[in-house]
Amino acid sequence: MSNPCYGRKRGYSRRAVLAQVGLGGVAATLGQLRGVRHAFAQDDGRPWYFLDDAEARWLAAACDTLIPEDEYPSASQAGVVDFIDFQLASDYGAGAGLYMDGPHQSGTPEQGYQFAFPPSDLFRNAIDALLQDDPPLTELDAEGRHEALRGLSESEDNLTDDIPAQAFFTELRTLTNQGYFADPIHLGNHDYAGWQMVGFPGAHAYYLSTVDDHNRHHPAPPMGVAHDRSGGSSLPRLIERGE
């Protein structure tokens, strides 16, 4: 039975992807095997920081529809669900940067975020509502998922009493995108998937002698804040499609 998994695919060869994206080589593979250097390193079967399994599966399906696999990894293959999980468990999710005092009322689009709750609740409540869909997103084929997300992005309806579908979609798209392109220390952009894809060399940046060297490619292998050729992020969690 074909039972596609999100996140790291079963039997998925990272080496093959690396070869495709032109990094390859022993250093990268070693980086993989060596695993991770930061505090969040855990083995497979690691618990999520914030999500439950059903939410993680929904997110994997949604994120991989926003950023599907092609010659470059999909969102979840690049650790985007791990990224979102950690974001929701930390300051961003808690709304640490937000003014949260009441009273709350909904405003015009020009007035921005007016929810009475922080982003972690926005994600939890929205996804829990969307998990009630029949059939759920995770059970749809690629085309079905694409249509479902298009519907979400264009819907004028609310998902819950206080969450407009579009508001959640915008936040979801933003986080998915951040997870694909942020420095790997934040757990996404695994193996520099996003940076390899566009050709961004990363945090180590010194271009005094190249900035006016016109039209020459600058194919430096990406390097992030953690000074690690493999990016320094742990392997994305394995996300089974579910029973």
Partner: protein
């Protein structure tokens, strides 16, 4: 009542950014004991902003780790008076600073001078086109200070920053390669212009073919080893692409910590207290002066800091807030159009052209700097004939290359879906073959755009939030559309162009939105002038109502010009400090008759 009353100081300065630290430098060296109170944390360019750790786009550019914390202080916002203003719960349109150095540590470093006519906005347009030309919906006015008066001070700040550029008008002599529209300058830029990448070069060539005068954007990203007049050492910019929204650990972007603070911090007359939130300015019973300020330290202890002189250097918006919560000056009432504090709040009109280039053009967008670009000034201010245009003001058009940070820099041609396989392919196909042209335009003041106190929401200290009522007037929408069309013409003239698309934040059918970033160029609200009925401070930056309160920053602008504000506002700061030192200190009094 404050928990403690501290010994009196000569000068208390609210805010430790460009204006606050410069005020402290100049007055401490003049023998005045200065205490700077800064609400944010202590930090230093060398230790706090070093790469590569600093080069974390998510943390600094998108989660705003260097900027103000809204849960402590924010404002409420509405477009028009018939709406209910709601709190700005999340940063977006502008990113005010907090912490030592203020927003000056995470600025771009685009360092402009005002045009002479900018400073005489109303009389200039009335003289050239007739008084009827000025639309009734606008409350624009003259600054009360002329370009010639500001010139030495503008020049001095350019030297403080080691500014890189090409002069276009040396003492009235036009100079090839510079901005031929600029006012006469007594001296050239202290450093040569920045190197230009391919995209900005193509833009300059196209603009020149169209008969315009392209020139390198004046830049406080320094181009060679340099010592400023205070003795600060600056290093050449590395074009690292982590500039605006980041601090510069290379000491290559002029910031108030390296350029000013380090040169005064050990002086016996200088003291700074970080984590010190000023709550209000206290007034004397004679109603003519302030007695000092009340502030809260980190642990919640409240102090009264008495002072002979109070300087407000808390950034445009928070200066106005402090005046309103302290009862300094008469608040503006849009109903009766009387009062001055909060009046003539203005912003900046921003539009842009996305230019997609042939594959053989490799832009390497990640090789960037905050003030890297080529500009034309032919459609700024009154550099072009407005007779038949039906608006006043203008903007500069610049092709820039700030950065290629991959979350924020994802150019895709018009019509590309916002996500999915097609979007993903477009992101990778265009990343290295795109450039952006910005139209950075003026913002005229109107009687309906203003700042006051919100009736409902409070900050973490129990003070009413500042309330902003703002939308772009019709004048600015027309102006922005017109200058954007000129930018499109340049883009179309560029070699190797595949396609272009445009975006205009002040488009005809839109409203000003607090959500997308535009600029941290909030202006007005405590404007400078020569008439106490239409200005908060006199032409020396001194409050009409309280002669020992001096005000600094873009809140002084009667309307916003087409340029970034820091050059003009620092010119004003040095102008004010000059009069404070040479005239006020020896004989404290109102420097102008009301």
């Amino acid at each position: 009542m404050a928990d403690y009353i501290l010994p009196k100081t000569d000068v208390v300065i609210v805010g430790g950014g460009w204006t606050g630290l410069t005020t402290a430098y100049e007055l401490a060296r003049e023998g005045q004991r200065c205490v700077v109170l800064e609400r944010g944390r202590d930090r230093h360019t060398a230790t706090s902003f070093a790469g590569p750790e600093e080069h974390d786009e998510l943390k600094y550019a998108l989660h705003h780790a260097h900027m103000m914390e809204l849960r402590k202080e924010t404002l409420t916002f509405r477009n028009t008076r018939d709406q209910r203003a709601l709190p700005m719960r999340r940063l977006g349109s502008f990113l005010p600073g907090s912490g030592l150095g203020g927003a000056g540590i995470h600025w771009n470093g685009q360092l402009w001078r005002p045009l002479p006519s900018d400073l005489e906005m109303r009389s200039h347009y009335a003289d050239r086109y007739g008084a009827d030309f000025i639309p009734d919906e606008l409350s624009i006015q003259d600054w009360g200070v002329s370009y010639d008066e500001l010139e030495p001070h503008l020049e001095f700040f350019e030297r403080i920053c080691g500014t890189a550029g090409t002069a276009g008008n040396l003492d009235g002599e036009p100079r090839e390669g510079g901005n031929r529209h600029e006012g006469p300058r007594a001296s050239g830029y202290p450093n040569p212009p920045m190197k230009q990448p391919i995209a900005t070069t193509l833009f300059g060539e196209a603009a020149a073919r169209l008969g315009m005068s392209p020139f390198p954007m004046p830049s406080a990203n320094v181009t060679q080893a340099y010592e400023n007049p205070y003795g600060a050492q600056l290093h050449p910019c590395t074009y690292c692409g982590f500039c605006e929204r980041f601090g510069c650990g290379y000491h290559a972007k002029a910031d108030p910590i390296i350029c000013v603070y380090d040169r005064i911090k050990d002086h016996e007359n200088f003291e700074i207290r970080c984590d010190s939130q000023v709550l209000r300015v206290e007034k004397a019973s004679d109603g003519k002066t302030a007695t000092g300020v009340t502030y809260l330290d980190k642990s919640g202890v409240e102090y009264f800091q008495p002072a002979d002189i109070v300087c407000l250097n808390a950034y445009a918006l928070w200066n106005v807030h402090l005046m309103l919560v302290s009862g300094l000056g008469e608040p503006y009432d849009p109903e009766t159009r009387s009062g001055v504090v909060g009046r003539n709040y203005s912003y900046q009109t921003i539009a842009a052209v996305d230019v997609f280039l042939d594959d053989e053009i490799v832009t390497n967008p990640f090789m960037g700097a905050g003030a890297l670009g080529v500009a034309v000034d032919d459609f700024n201010g009154d550099n072009f004939d407005h007779s038949d245009l039906g608006f006043l003001g203008g903007g500069y058009i610049a092709c820039t290359q700030y950065h290629g940070r991959p979350i924020s820099y994802q150019p895709v041609p018009e019509g590309t879906p916002a996500w999915g396989a097609e979007w993903k392919k477009a992101v990778r196909d265009n990343y290295l073959h795109h450039t952006g042209i910005v139209v950075h335009g003026s913002s005229a003041a109107t009687p309906d755009n203003y700042l006051d106190l919100d009736p409902t929401w409070k900050d973490a200290y129990g003070r009413p939030l500042l309330r902003m009522t703002f939308d772009f007037p019709q004048n600015d929408r027309k102006m922005s559309d017109y200058v954007l069309q000129r930018a499109v013409e340049i883009a179309e003239e560029m070699d190797h162009v595949r396609s272009i698309s445009t975006i205009n934040r002040a488009a005809q059918d839109s409203r000003y939105s607090l959500v997308p970033y535009q600029t941290t160029h909030n202006a007005g609200g405590a404007v400078i002038g020569t008439d106490p009925r239409t200005s908060v401070v006199n032409r020396y930056g001194q409050m009409w109502d309280h002669h020992n309160v001096f005000v600094f920053g873009a809140c002084l602008f009667p309307q916003n010009l087409g340029y970034n504000p820091t050059g003009p506002l620092m010119g004003l700061a040095y102008w004010t400090l000059h009069h404070l030192k040479s005239d006020y200190l020896s004989n404290p009094r109102p420097l102008m008759d009301a």
